[in-house]
């Protein structure tokens, strides 16, 4: 019998560290729910049936959202049991909930269609997902669940190689391991995680949490080979000799540069280099950590996506004055609203409608200013729905001793140069089953999309895992019948 609930219109807030405190360190900004707060928020959910629930449709990996939220309410008197049951529901579709709960743009995904939005605030699905994962990790509940799951996995006797340990590869690996395949990930860097480790800063996604989520994949039997650069250490051709299928999740790691004089002056970083030094190499702890980074007194970040926000907020934590320079206007900013607001709270300034045309250096080859052309919007829109802009012929010069370029990334060249691999505009081409032009080789994430989001990459990883499973099932049955 359905229980009639009173509508609670307002979202239960999650505590956040105040801006004036958090700009001095790299510790997490949002502190997340406690069990009591989580249950209070969970109670607001109207429990739409799973075959209808619009939130599930909005989630790229289709987590049964009312299902896991319902468990928190159902077992409210036994927090451990509540979290264990909720985690079981989430894990059926998502192996990295502590990560996605933190970094997904929920406002464009699961929360976008939440029916509660018609009468009040949408359910805070991301923070509830994060709560379940965090509580489970702190109490060892996730280990308990793994311990129960692993012995039940039936080995298929087939091997799959995954290229890249980012969100797409990790998701595909997790799904395939649960299905009983022998999975090995080839990762070029010294740590798995991809953009979760080198790109997204500690204050949004603590690295210890990513490490712990990846450790769970290892316990599912996934092997990870770091320091292996596919295309150099081993080729896709060689992988196909040893493995029954291959998944390419190599991402979009090549930074785009601005074709303007002075781009190679000292003090000009790509966002990828800056964030890799800060996040992966922990240069904010120099000299305790050996990797250096230089942040001047005034930093200009060029671009207005999530990467630009991450770079700007990281630079702010070194004590710099930070300006985000964007060639379009405020309404065109592509970063998440939450990130833009956090950046503003932290004192980062925004300059709109300016486009860099020259980087000006001093006599020692260090950058000292950026010359911008002032832009203006037109009524026309481009393919992505953004306003077109044109130069006005007027210029403005802004002084800075550090410049960070965050205008986007391309898929990695080492992979896309594989003979026989069909590529269009630098992106790997796949069919409706995520298979590339090479039979048995699948691909997903930024390698096929260009620069997109963590959760879309995970969605691709999950879809590819299903397609690989179908492909390998046929292969297996074909062999048995032969």
């Amino acid at each position: 019998m359905a229980v009639r609930r009173k509508l609670i219109k307002e979202r239960v807030p999650t505590p956040e560290r105040p801006a004036e405190e958090r700009i001095h360190d790299f510790k997490e900004v949002n502190l997340g729910y406690t069990f009591e707060l989580a249950v209070k928020e969970a109670e607001r959910c109207l429990q739409c049936p799973a075959n209808y629930a619009p939130c599930i449709k909005g989630c790229p990996v289709h987590i049964n959202i009312p299902g896991f939220i319902g468990k928190l309410v159902e077992y409210r008197d036994d927090p451990d049991k509540a979290v264990k049951e909720a985690l079981k529901v989430i894990w059926a579709c998502n192996s990295l909930p502590a990560t996605t709960g933190r970094v997904c743009p929920q406002e464009d995904q699961c929360e976008m269609n939440c029916v509660m939005g018609k009468v009040g605030d949408k359910i805070n699905i991301g923070k509830l997902e994060r709560f379940v994962a965090d509580y489970a990790r702190e109490k060892g509940i996730d280990e308990e669940l793994l311990f129960e799951m692993v012995p039940k996995i039936e080995k298929k006797g087939q091997k799959v190689a995954i290229i890249g340990a980012g969100p797409a590869g990790l998701t595909a690996a997790g799904e395939l391991a649960k299905l009983g395949y022998d999975v090995t990930i080839y990762e070029a860097l010294h740590e798995p995680g991809g953009v979760l480790m080198y790109g997204i800063p500690e204050f949004r996604l603590p690295k210890s949490i990513v490490e712990s989520e990846i450790d769970k994949l290892r316990k599912l039997g996934v092997k990870i080979l770091t320091d292996h650069i596919v295309g150099k250490t081993v080729t896709i051709e060689e992988l196909l000799e040893e493995y029954d299928a291959v998944f390419i999740g190599s991402g979009a790691g090549t930074p785009r540069l601005i074709n303007a004089p002075g781009i190679n002056l000292n003090g000009i970083y790509t966002a990828n280099e800056f964030l890799t030094r800060v996040n992966l190499m922990k240069a904010y702890l120099f000299p305790e950590y050996d990797t250096p980074v230089k942040v001047g007194k005034r930093v200009i970040v060029i671009g207005a996506g999530n990467t630009a926000m991450d770079a700007a907020r990281s630079a702010r934590r070194f004590g710099a004055e930070v300006i985000i320079a964007y060639r379009r206007g405020e309404e065109d900013v592509s970063a998440r609203i939450e990130e833009v607001e956090h950046a503003k709270e932290e004192g980062i300034k925004f300059e709109y409608f300016i486009n860099p045309v020259e980087f000006i250096g001093d006599e020692n080859g260090n950058v000292k200013a950026v010359k911008f052309e002032k832009m203006k919007p037109l009524d026309e829109r481009d393919k992505r729905g953004k306003r077109k802009i044109v130069g006005t012929g007027e210029y403005v010069t802004i002084e800075a001793d550090t410049v960070i370029i965050a205008i986007g990334k391309h898929p990695n060249r080492l992979i896309i140069n594989t003979p026989g691999l069909k590529v269009e505009r630098g992106r790997i081409v796949v069919d409706e089953n995520m298979m590339t032009s090479i039979p048995g080789v699948f691909a997903g994430g930024d390698a096929i999309r260009g620069e997109a989001t963590v959760i879309l990459a995970m969605g691709d990883g999950r879809r590819a895992a299903k397609a690989i499973h179908e492909y390998l099932t046929k292969k297996r049955e074909g062999k048995e019948n032969a």
Partner: protein, 286 residues
Amino acid sequence: MYRILEKKELAPKHIMYRIEAPHVARKVQPGQFVIVRAFPNGERIPLTPVMWDREEGWIVLITFVRGKTTMRMANELKPGDSILNVAGPLGNPAPIEKFGRVLAVGLSAGIVEVFPIAKALQEAGNDVTTLHVAPAPMAILKDEFTESVSRHIFEGFEIQEGWGTKEIVAEIARRGAEKVKELLSEENFDFVLTVGPAGAQKAVFNVVKEFGIPMHADLHPIMVDGTGMCGSCRVTVGGEVKFACIDGPGFDAYKVDWDELIHRVGFYTDLEKRALEEYLKSLRGE
């Protein structure tokens, strides 16, 4: 984790490590490099496999002790220990073609990178002369070169009292340019190759340019990942921005913007000095 099978001091500040790294040994070609991370809080540094055995699965790296990381490796790593990460092979192989008479120049520790390339060029039918310019006590790999190429020349000099790194590097540049000028004036060469500090390579290039001989230079910009994802190692070659880790590390010396490269390699000098000073202090127990 990659086990150190052997460690030896070849000359002052020059340490040889033979390391188990089958994934690199199987594939590496002359001119390619690896990225090494030796300690949990360590940085990633580019080094070059000098020798390797594909069957036995080992590579030889020779470090020149110039800062904190290389000094820590020299002080703290013993045979039997492991290096955390050896990623590679990275970069493009050097051009191994039949050029004719080749002069391969190793400026200071750059000589270790010359070795595999010079050896391969000789094996490809070239008549290779190698030249090593360095302070006298730092003559290394003499026997190996003598066995592998037509002729090996060591141009050594004494370090004068009061000289620091700056003066030593200036002397390497001066002597290198002078010796190359002498060789090119007296003999005919078809191809020149250099490895070493950017300033010294530029000095040699300025001489080679006068003779109009094709020249290949292995560049040493600052690297982080070594796989083309950050652009720390970007250089201007022929007016275009290139990433040395995936487009190089070797380039046509005539197309390189040498002054820009010299500026860029010095960007972290102050922080490098600080890291080393703090490490030395910790060694003294301060």
